[in-house]
């Protein structure tokens, strides 16, 4: 069994292959990500950070190459198994947060547990614990659209953690936060690392990639990781 949690071997993702508008957001990327590591994928807009994050998190499949999660090649797994890997291994914090408006903070956090074999009461208890840990207990019944940007960010993190994932994947998590809130967010990631979780952050925010809490930075450009970063 690999000591690396996630390994990418020559992973390429191509859209519109063979057509004039063919694009390669991720091109021949190889990368090892260890357990309990905070890794930042850095690069300008369009460099392929989000696509690489989606590949790592099994949201899309590579056109070629291998992706090993805990030593298991997931690239060619059938959809159902891939969903299982995604659900059991990863928690996502999206750039746009992608919370569901019209329902409460508690329901948003519980949402990943709905299709699982876990009772409603247990699911609610777990969600309330996370909401409490992230300082949102007083907001649990609020609809998400009534929250501030920082509060919404924490709801998204709580939802990402509800399945007790081994890794958190965050795409531009500070895009809508001021410096103070960005600092708080980094502290949360630091806490998660302390719990043994791997954190992969795609960002071009210097507050994140220059933070002393980061273990490693991989710089991306034109779908590739620059030499020496992988």
């Amino acid at each position: 069994m690999s000591r690396e949690m996630i390994t990418l071997e020559n992973v390429t993702r191509v859209y519109n292959q063979g057509r004039p508008n063919e694009v390669r957001p991720v091109d021949e990327v190889s990368l090892d990500i260890g357990h309990g590591e905070i890794l930042v994928l850095k690069g300008p807009s369009g460099s392929g950070k989000t696509s690489l994050l989606a590949l790592i998190g099994c949201m899309i499949r590579p056109t070629s190459g291998r992706i090993l999660v805990a030593g298991r090649d997931v690239a060619k797994l059938p959809e159902r198994f891939l969903t299982g890997v995604r659900r059991d291994t990863f928690g996502f914090v999206f750039q746009q947060l992608h919370l569901i408006p019209g329902i409460s903070v508690l329901e948003n956090v519980m949402l990943p547990l709905y299709p699982l074999e876990i009772g409603f009461t247990a699911a609610k208890r777990r969600a309330l614990e996370l909401i409490e840990q992230l300082g949102l207990a007083h907001r649990k019944g609020f609809k998400v659209e009534a929250l501030s940007g920082g509060e919404r960010q924490r709801v998204a993190i709580a939802r990402a953690l509800i399945n007790a994932p081994q890794a958190i994947l965050a795409d531009e998590p500070t895009a809508h936060l001021d410096a103070g809130l960005s600092g708080e967010l980094m502290q949360i990631f630091e806490t998660l690392r302390g719990q043994g979780k791997t954190v992969v952050i795609a960002t071009h925010d210097p507050l994140v990639h220059d933070s002393p809490l980061i273990d490693r930075v991989a710089t991306m450009r034109d779908g590739r990781i620059l030499d020496g970063d992988g």
Partner: protein, 399 residues
């Protein structure tokens, strides 16, 4: 484990209902359109069912075999000596002439059926399935009296002891004293039928003494009805034997929603299809696609999303179906099918007003369910399935 498994479905159901509430305006609109469609279709089903039941109720006590005479393809009075010939056929129990005719009442604009009651009274074979609720029957030899149904009494505003005036074949007004009111399993009968002494009826219509309207034939063995019909035709080529079963089949065909009003059903189904096509063509809104992408990204499987959409579609369709069927039933039961009766123009002008009792035909309701609820659920699930099998990343980026 079992309760956990059930809990999983309940949680998805709860989220489905919550999602529907979030889109309450759109869903309410869909429910209203859907329910209106089901209302129309179920009204047709209930109305035709009621008409069929009414018609079949009139047949309950009708003779096994009815013999009419046809002349130039039309119903003509039948000579009584035809009855003597038929009575001699092996297997024939009895032959009873029947005297009846239609009467158009210019004052009420209704068409009544006048039926002559002979000395055998109402208990004779093949007489109508009527039940006296007030007054007395027509006694042998009694003249210038009549029995009317409760519906006729109501329309004409008369009771026992009142008079019913009818213009006879010579154009003279004849008055008949109402001596009894009857009820019937069929409201068609109580709204349409007037019973007169046979002699009065023959005089009223100016019928020759040697003719009747038709002949009721009792056959010993019901399995021999067709055989006796054939023999009658061999001996009397201008006779038209009609068996009970044939009349029943005709009524079934005439009033069955699959027959007479199939066109209306078809148009309704087309309307349903257009709504569904619209719903399908518009597909999912950007919000719905995005939501499916989010659910996939946070670990929902395609089957979980299909279950969610199935619950949503089923809940909406069932609510609309039940509302539509209930409204349809009330329309026929409480409001006399006011919206549909103009379609049946002939009936409404020829007959007095009829209060129909709708019939709950499980088969018809099942077909209605299949024509509306099932296609709607399929149309709801298909675009969701298309979105759910796409990579969640793509679904979210597309929105």
């Amino acid at each position: 484990m079992g309760s956990y498994h059930l809990g999983r479905h309940l949680k998805i159901l709860e989220f489905a209902l919550s999602s529907m509430l979030r889109r309450r305006t759109k869903n309410l609109g869909l429910v209203l359109v859907f329910a209106a469609l089901v209302f129309l279709l179920s009204s047709i089903v209930f109305l035709t069912g009621a008409l069929r039941t009414e018609a079949l109720a009139t047949l309950e006590a009708s003779p096994q075999l009815l013999v009419q005479r046809a002349m130039a393809g039309r119903h003509a009075l039948i000579p009584l000596d035809y009855g003597e010939l038929i009575a001699r056929l092996p297997g024939v129990g009895s032959v009873t002439p029947r005297y009846w005719g239609y009467y158009y009442d210019i004052y009420t604009g209704a068409n009544y059926t006048l039926l002559g009651i002979g000395d055998q009274g109402l208990e004779s074979p093949g007489s109508t399935p009527l039940r006296l609720v007030e007054g007395s029957f027509i006694m042998p030899g009694q003249r210038r009296v009549c029995l009317i149904g409760e519906g006729v009494a109501r329309v004409r505003g008369t009771r026992i002891g009142g008079m019913v005036s009818l213009r006879d074949a010579r154009g003279w007004m004849q008055e008949y004293e109402v001596i009894g009111l009857f009820a019937s399993p069929s409201r068609l009968l109580t709204n349409d039928l007037i019973l007169l002494p046979e002699a009065d009826l023959k005089a009223h219509f100016g019928m020759p003494d040697d003719r009747a309207t038709d002949l009721m034939v009792e056959v010993y063995n019901p399995h021999e009805v067709d055989n006796i019909s054939r023999k009658i035709l061999e001996r009397l080529p201008d006779a038209r034997p009609i068996s009970h079963a044939e009349i029943q089949r005709t009524y079934e065909t005439l009033f069955n929603w699959r027959g007479g009003l199939l066109l209306a059903m078809f148009l309704g189904a087309m309307a349903a299809f257009m709504i569904l096509a619209w719903d399908k063509a518009t597909g999912l809104s950007a919000d719905e696609r995005r939501e499916i992408g989010i659910l996939k990204a946070i670990g929902w499987e395609t089957s979980d999303i299909l279950e969610l959409k199935l619950w949503e579609g089923a809940a909406l369709a069932l609510v609309a179906f039940l509302a539509g069927v209930t409204a349809g039933y009330a329309h026929v039961q409480r409001f006399g099918s006011e919206l549909l009766m103009p379609v049946l123009e002939g009936w409404s002008t020829l007959f007095p007003a009829i209060d129909l009792a709708p019939q709950l035909d499980p088969y018809a309701l099942g077909v209605l369910f299949s024509l509306t609820v099932v296609p709607y659920i399929v149309a709801t699930v298909v675009p969701s399935w298309k979105a759910a099998i796409t990579d969640p990343d793509r679904v979210m980026r597309a929105s």
